[in-house]
Every structure is written in structure tokens, then in C-alpha cells.
Amino acid sequence: MDLMNILFIAPFLDMADAPVFLAEVVISGVLTGVMYSLVALGFVLIFKASGVFNFAQGAMVLFAALTLVGLMERGVPVWLALIGTAAVMVALAFVIERVMLRPLINQEGIILFMATIGLDFLLQGVGQIAWGSNVKVLNVGIPNKSFEVGGILLNEFDLFAALIAAVLVGVLAVFFQKTAIGRALRAVADDHQAALAVGIPLTTIWVIVWSVAGIVALVAGIMWGAKSGVQFSLSLIALKSLPVLILGGFTSIPGAIIGGLIIGVGEKIAEIYWGPAFGGAIEGWFAYMLALVFLLFRPQGLFGERIIERV
């Protein structure tokens, strides 16, 4: 009876007792969720357009952030460093296409996945050799003041991150759904052979999509780097975006966003209200449990393409 109370009654009573505090928890969850979404977005882009599950997305986030900080430490102005880093990410896309994807054309998805694991190690290593492995502070001049609205404490930085994510998602959604290149990307994801037959050059498409994923990684790297410093653990946030992908569906851009929000809010609420019942620190594994439940009942995620099999 006591256990029932702790799990199913007390947490809700706590929430009702302090609504302002609950709102703060939810908002902080939403903003963390936005950050997860930014990383998940990079995964979705590459998966949508080439059917490759890019294990190295986290490493790309780290690599982009390291490059940006590295350039800035050497006295390059912020705007130039941003352009420079973006150029490096595009160059990286060219190299990945030429060295990794092209020789593996027409191979199974699992083989490409293995290749991206290799890429993950490579990027982490090269990034740290080139720019050093100590924790760096990234300051690109995003305002970081707190203010109060109706008794709820908000942070300018978090709002800024949410705004950036919203803009990015809007642009990408239009790009995928409305433009000829977006259509070509979807075509390549659907059927390589048919795409070739209608004259879509696979290699160009891959460069484009890896470049876009690289830029998204840069944005995620800036946000996470500015929030918690640029360090090796940045590449581990990629792991947190796995449950986001499972929730949202691997092929859905809106799914990546909503999945991120659910995970962000869910883990914050779980930590605060249910944490004590489990001895705390459930923020670390709550997302994975949620993903597991989804895999059991809705394996394609909330917005993934329905699996239709004709027999």
C-alpha cells in the first residue's frame, strides 16, 4: 500500500501542490528536449536520404564544436569561425562520400552502419588530436540571462536554442517536402536502382545530405558546447538521441522534434517526482525504458512510415 502511494499518488499530489515549480520542471524539460532533437535531426536526415544509420552523428557534433572552438582560440572572429567550420563540415561530407560511401555502394545497411562506427572513432580521434582533449569553453555571444515570467524562471539561452531548432526544422521540412532536391533525396532513400534509372546522381545526393547533417551537427555542437563546455562527452549525447529516434520514428523530422520534447520533459518529471522512490538518478535511464516500451507496442515510432508489406 505504501509502495502504491509512493508510485501513483504522492507524485501527483506534489505536482498539484506547487504548480509553478511543475511549470519550471516542464519548461526545463522542453528546453533539454529541444537540444536532444537537434542531435536526433542529424540522424533522421541521413537515415531518410540514404538509409544509413549514422552512428557517427555524435562524433560529428563533437568534431564541429571542437573545430569551432579551435578556430576561435586562434583568434578567428566568431562569424568567420562559423563559416570556416561549416566549410570543414561540407569538406568532410565530400571525403566521407568519396572514401566511405562510394566503395560500399549497394551494400547492406548493416555494413554501412559498421562503417559509420569506424567513422565515429576516427572523428573523435582526429578532432582531439587536432584541437586537444581538454574541456573548452565555447562562447559565441548567445545571451545567457535569466528572467521571470509570471513567477516562472526562464533563461534567454534556452529560449534562443528553442528558436534556432524551430527555424532549422521549418527550413528542413520545406526543403524535403517542396523542392526538387528534397524529392530526389526521398527517391534515393526509397530505391537506389530506380533513382539511378531516372537520372538522379547518387553521389551528389549523398554529399548534399551529409553536408546538411554536418551543418545540423554544427548547430547542435554550438548549443551543447555553449551550455556544458566542449568536451569528449558531447559525443555521448548521441546515445540519448537514440530513444528520441525510437519514439519519433527514424524517418520523420517532426518526429525527431516531438520525440525529443517527450524524452526531455519525461525524464525531468520522472527525476523530480519519481526519482526518490527509486533512490534518485533515474534521469539517466528513463529515456531508454520509454524507448523499450515503444519498441514493444509501436516499433515504427510515433511518426515513422508505416510498415506495409504486400503478400
Binding site: A180, A195, V198, E305
Partner: protein, 263 residues
């Protein structure tokens, strides 16, 4: 029969094409030509190398030996997106549509080679790219009307019945406004009514747009009806080439299909 059309010069010529997969010889020294505005049938028993031949023409397979001359340019192999840009479009034996995309989007991909506005414009979906997109959209709507598939414009093609998918695939090939259309068993698995529709579309395409068509088909009645000329393959070799009537009475062809008695 469409004898009224005037058959033009040689559009495509394949010479001495040989292709093998490991130890299996798929094609051996095959030579034939396709003339502008004709409907050429490629027939032969199962495994004769018909699909391999189409794959060589549009560059999916690179032959071990031989030459391909298309519109006056001779080369030893094609590349798929090059072939597409040069006006060769095709359909597949096992439909290769983009299953998750709508009929409209599938057919729009067929116009991919004709989109010129650069990437940035397209990404922004502004200005010239938008005008261009609308132009292509009009062209695609004409094809949709032509093939009588208005009702399924927005349907994801994975949900369509087989016969309609074949029609959408033809639409996607037509969207490229091809000079040479390769059809790999366009009527396989269709009922009589669907076959009649498909025959009508093929003849109309040939008639109205002057598109040259090379098609593989197993239904002899269809082949004899719509083809101007027929090439017969057997075990990777060409055994006959001529008018449908001539081919029908050719002893080698009869033997290939019915077998030879050994007594």
C-alpha cells in the same frame, strides 16, 4: 499496325555485346539496332538474356565486350544517370517505384534530369526554382491525364494495385520526355483489360510523341500486334531479327520455344 509512321534512322545500335556473370554467359555477341520511332520487341524464352540486354543499354550492367552507339556516339558502356540525361528512360520487370511517395511525386522524379536551377535556389524554393517547379508540375499533370490516373494522384504508390503501379512507372519514364523508352515486361501479371489499356498507352506514346520503344514481352499476341520489328534471343544469342510475321515462321524461333526433337 502503325505502318503510317515513318521509321527513321538508327537511334541505338549495340554491336557484339557479350556479358557474363562469373561462369554464366548471359549475352554472347549480340548485335542489333533500334530505329527512330519504331516499336521493337525483344522476345525469347526465360533466361535468354532479355533483361540483361536492357540493363546493358541503360548502363546498369557493363558489358565485357562490344560497343553501344547511341545518337551517333559510340561507347563501350553506359552509365545509368548519363543514359537518363541522354534521353533513355525505362521501366522494370519488378516495379521499381518509390513506394513511400505519392503518384505525383514519383512522376515528378522522372523530370529530375530536366531541372536546372541550382541547389541554393531550390533549397530556398524561391524565384526561378519555384517557376520551374510549376512548369514541371504542369507537364506531369499532362502525363497524369494521358495515363488516366487522375484519381490516384496523391496516393502513396505502395498502396496501389499492381496494374496501376505499372502505369505509374510508365508515367515516371514518360516524364523524362525520353527519346528511347525501354519497357521490361510492361504487361506481366496483368489481366486482359489492363493489357489492352497498356497496349493502347504504348501505341499512343509512340504515335503522339514519336518515342522510340524497345520492349520485352512474353505475350506473343501482344508482341505481334504492337511491334514493328522483333529481335529474338535464346541462351544469350540473337537467333532472329525481322518483322513479326517473318519471326513467327522462323524455324529457329519455333525450335527455341517448343524444343527440338532429337530423333
Amino acid at each position: 499496325m502503325n505502318n503510317a509512321r515513318d521509321i527513321g534512322d538508327v537511334l541505338l545500335k549495340v554491336e557484339d555485346i557479350s556479358l557474363s556473370f562469373g561462369g554464366v554467359q548471359a549475352l554472347t555477341d549480340v548485335t542489333f539496332e533500334v530505329r527512330a520511332r519504331e516499336v521493337l520487341g525483344i522476345i525469347g524464352p526465360n533466361g535468354a538474356g532479355k533483361s540483361s540486354m536492357l540493363n546493358v543499354i541503360n548502363g546498369f550492367y557493363h558489358p565485357d565486350k562490344g560497343r553501344i552507339t547511341y545518337k551517333g556516339t559510340t561507347r563501350t558502356k553506359m552509365r545509368p544517370h548519363e543514359a537518363a540525361r541522354q534521353g533513355i528512360a525505362r521501366t522494370f520487370q519488378n516495379i521499381a517505384l518509390f513506394k513511400g511517395m505519392s503518384t505525383l511525386d514519383n512522376i515528378m522524379t522522372g523530370r529530375n534530369t530536366m531541372m536546372h536551377r541550382n541547389f541554393l535556389w531550390q533549397a530556398l524554393y524561391l524565384g526561378p526554382a519555384r517557376t520551374e517547379e510549376l512548369e514541371h508540375r504542369r507537364a506531369v499533370e499532362r502525363i497524369i491525364d494521358f495515363l488516366e490516373i487522375e484519381a490516384i494522384r496523391k496516393t502513396p504508390v505502395g498502396r496501389l494495385p499492381y496494374g496501376l503501379q505499372k502505369r505509374v512507372e510508365l508515367g515516371r519514364a514518360l516524364a523524362a520526355e525520353p527519346e528511347l523508352l525501354l519497357l521490361d515486361e510492361p504487361m506481366a501479371g496483368m489481366n486482359l483489360e489492363e493489357k489492352e489499356d497498356m497496349c493502347r498507352f504504348i501505341l499512343d506514346v509512340n504515335d503522339e510523341f514519336g518515342t522510340t520503344i524497345a520492349l520485352i514481352e512474353h505475350d506473343m499476341a501482344v508482341v505481334m500486334d504492337i511491334c514493328d520489328r522483333v529481335v529474338v534471343l535464346d541462351y544469350g544469342r540473337k537467333i532472329a531479327d525481322g518483322s513479326p510475321d517473318a519471326v513467327r515462321t522462323n524455324q529457329d524461333v519455333i525450335d527455341a520455344y517448343l524444343g527440338v526433337s532429337h530423333d
